[in-house]
Symmetry: C2
Subunit: 248 residues, 2 copies
Amino acid sequence: MVAQSMTAQRGLDEPRAIATRCSACPIRERAVCAYCSDQELTVLDGIKSYRTFTAGREILAAGETTPFVASIVTGVVKLTKTLPDGRVQIVGLLFPSDFIGKVRDDVASYDAIAATDVTLCVFQRRPFGLLLKNTPALENRLLEMTMDELDAAREWLLVLGRKTARERLASFLLMFARRSKPVDDGGKTDAYTLPLTRTEIAEYLGLTLETVSRQMTKMRGDGIIQFQTTRRFHVPDMDRLQDVADGT
Amino acid sequence: MVAQSMTAQRGLDEPRAIATRCSACPIRERAVCAYCSDQELTVLDGIKSYRTFTAGREILAAGETTPFVASIVTGVVKLTKTLPDGRVQIVGLLFPSDFIGKVRDDVASYDAIAATDVTLCVFQRRPFGLLLKNTPALENRLLEMTMDELDAAREWLLVLGRKTARERLASFLLMFARRSKPVDDGGKTDAYTLPLTRTEIAEYLGLTLETVSRQMTKMRGDGIIQFQTTRRFHVPDMDRLQDVADGT
DNA sequence: CGCTTCATTGACGACGTTCAAGACATGTGG
DNA sequence: CCACATGTCTTGAACGTCGTCAATGAAGCG
């Protein structure tokens, strides 16, 4: 139910024919396999398979042994941590070409959940781990991507540790606009469609959904953002949004 | 002056003779070179040098080109990000054997500052980058360490996003106790010496120094921790501290 | 057309911040 | 050795932002 209602508003990843050959893969240029030669690609081709998860489905569970790692082909995945009393924090948001899963550790320290319908390019963990050792191109890229994730996580520490609700929301919209492609809304402007509910945005920002909602309303009133629907928004002036995010 | 007053209370890293040969290095087993063979080590030996920074000194500056990367031999380094209006957040705390600096990007996205007196094993960035490409043992370990840092950063996102002041402080003390060696205080118990001021702890926890101080006092009153000095503390029951950190 | 989920808005209260004063420790110079 | 300065830490009181509780509205789906 949840999955289907979300599918309708998802917007980011229209279901589409999925490439079975790496050479035709939409994330070929930026995924973990980006630096692989055609020859290395054929090896990868042999151990990969595609899996889809409907919105809301659990992909990996914290504390459990994970049998696979994967690249995100389409959709958005959220990584969450939960306190014993149920408080939830989203600790990572993964977009197409991003990599899911630990290579060495077999237990995940967070849940991975499909925020939208998701298509993954899946590798069994063991074979992938072995391949990684013998394929510098693969390991180079994975190191690069992991470092980028670390940078992003540290940027978010600043957001959660020091920014106000308004600044957090602006930071989120900005981050999202940068990492997702705009949807052409038929007019002369670009619009973005949020893959998350207000609750999920709150979980990402360390706030409550009420506070997120209030700040959305306020920013709309200030002309910082414009809403076509509750999920679809347009930013008239990115620099101005950036200023809000930086508290300047 | 600041540096010297801090040196007096530092406690973590008494100045000591520093190994010049890798085989005698105190962090040999856990640093980025951990998986290197003796042969590979001799190559590293050739491009390394030691540098010391007194407490408070800047090691790397955000936005500036960094000429080197390094392993921490002794001391504690804090990574900080600063908002335009001066708000500061510590986004990482590095201990002996941890690795500093970007290998690929030449500009840092945060400041690195010596929290105590620090000794680094420094490598020029270019030669190290080249060596990294040709030395799987080095790259394997760096990938592993980067993934661990990412895990730690995500754990901290939960702390900053969802935990109360009390829970944050407990999480910090716990983390610190785990990553640093206890100081034998001559009795039957282990004591830990904090390498950070109250202000710095607050910068790490997304709080103010007053809130940190109040929570310290309260936890002492509750018998969760005992203070020998303002910097030196003892934990009678780690499990109890863990419960406080988890909000249970 | 009713059910469910999602989003908005309001009233009130709590937790942490801000502002301020004072205590404590350490180092310096007379 | 004491007076004084400096940096650190503690404690108090008032304030404000955000969380909690609650009601209402809007949208999609059976």
